[in-house]
């Protein structure tokens, strides 16, 4: 059984993920096929009608937006405390994926809100805090792109990620702390699920499909980041191998020009 430290080694990570990725992608494809079939054969909701089918996309996207940010925050701790290169790679790879799922959460929510609430958007605590989450994701992406020195960018992004984590409990508990139009927790509660099993099953299958997809995308994006670092390092090393030009040769060339 490999130890956690050996798994965190980039070479071992590349070898392990090369084997794990096809399985994860296959599991995601299979779960999506089953989930979509269940989503479109499930009965319509007595109040929401057909729009309940939007929930099979909206709820998993919302869960992922929080899950990915939490994963980014754990990676940020790894990057700041242990300066582990894989933690930096994980943090950087997760940001665009989290951003896309948060965007999807907001868009699918708006598409559900218009027929159900009569408005695309309301400045409700849950919606507003998720919008803030999207802005935080965009800010972190901007940090990665704005700072050229990647080690410095990693430290700044890690700090920003940890500061932004304050928003995660606000998103989660906003429906309890404030009077919101958005409904409270209904899938997992202390009294059990408040959702009918016919609707709960496709929702959970779709949530598993989204989670498998995210895991596959995160690993693939992390592999890309490792390759990018490898390319940068190899380019620097091969450039340093090139013999330096003598100052006399440069002067002669200058004179000829």
């Amino acid at each position: 059984m490999p130890s956690l430290t050996s798994l965190a080694n980039p070479s071992r990570f590349m070898a392990l993920t090369a084997r794990a990725l096809p399985w994860l992608a296959g599991a995601a494809a299979l779960l999506f096929a089953v989930g979509l079939w269940l989503a479109f054969t499930a009965p319509e909701d007595y109040q929401q009608g057909e729009t309940v089918r939007i929930m099979y996309l909206h709820v998993p996207s919302a869960w992922l937006s929080l899950l990915i940010y939490t994963a980014m925050s754990i990676s940020a701790i790894g990057a700041l405390v242990w300066r582990h290169p894989l933690a930096e790679v994980s943090m950087k790879a997760a940001a665009p994926i989290g951003c896309v799922f948060t965007f999807l959460c907001l868009v699918t929510g708006a598409l559900w809100g218009k027929p159900m609430w009569g408005a695309w958007w309301v400045w409700d605590a849950r919606l507003t805090s998720v919008l803030v989450l999207l802005l935080i994701y965009l800010g972190i992406l901007a940090i990665w792109n704005a700072i050229e020195d990647q080690a410095h960018a990693a430290r700044v992004a890690a700090l920003a990620t940890l500061v932004g984590f304050v928003n995660i409990p606000i998103v989660k508990f906003s429906v309890e702390w404030w009077n919101t139009l958005h409904q409270g927790a209904s899938v997992f509660t202390l009294e059990g699920s408040k959702i009918a099993p016919e609707i709960l099953l496709p929702l959970l299958v779709m949530a598993c499909a989204f989670t498998c997809l995210y895991a596959a995308l995160h690993l693939a994006a992390m592999r890309n980041q490792i390759l990018r670092r490898r390319l940068r390092r190899l380019a620097i090393l091969t450039a340093s191998e090139t013999p330096p030009r003598s100052p006399i040769a440069s002067v002669e060339e200058g004179a000829r020009a």
């Binding site: 980039p10 070479s11 590349m14 909206h58 598409l111 995308l217 390319l231």
Partner: protein, 59 residues
């Protein structure tokens, strides 16, 4: 009643279409990035093989 005549079905179709497009773009972006990196790495890696300093650069 046909599927397209169901109430609010346009919102449902739009939600699934936008999700499909966004997820597909994400997957295609990552796959294309991977291919471009592999192509860019190929000449460096053939040089690096057997070279003690450059071999160390391959994680």
């Amino acid at each position: 009643m046909s599927f397209l005549a169901l109430p609010h079905i346009g919102f449902v179709i739009a939600a699934y279409a936008i999700t499909f497009v966004a997820v597909t773009l994400l997957i295609v972006g990552i796959v294309l990035d991977h291919r471009a990196l592999r192509r860019a790495l190929a000449p460096h890696e053939s040089e690096a093989r057997g070279h003690p300093d450059l071999d160390g650069a391959i994680p």
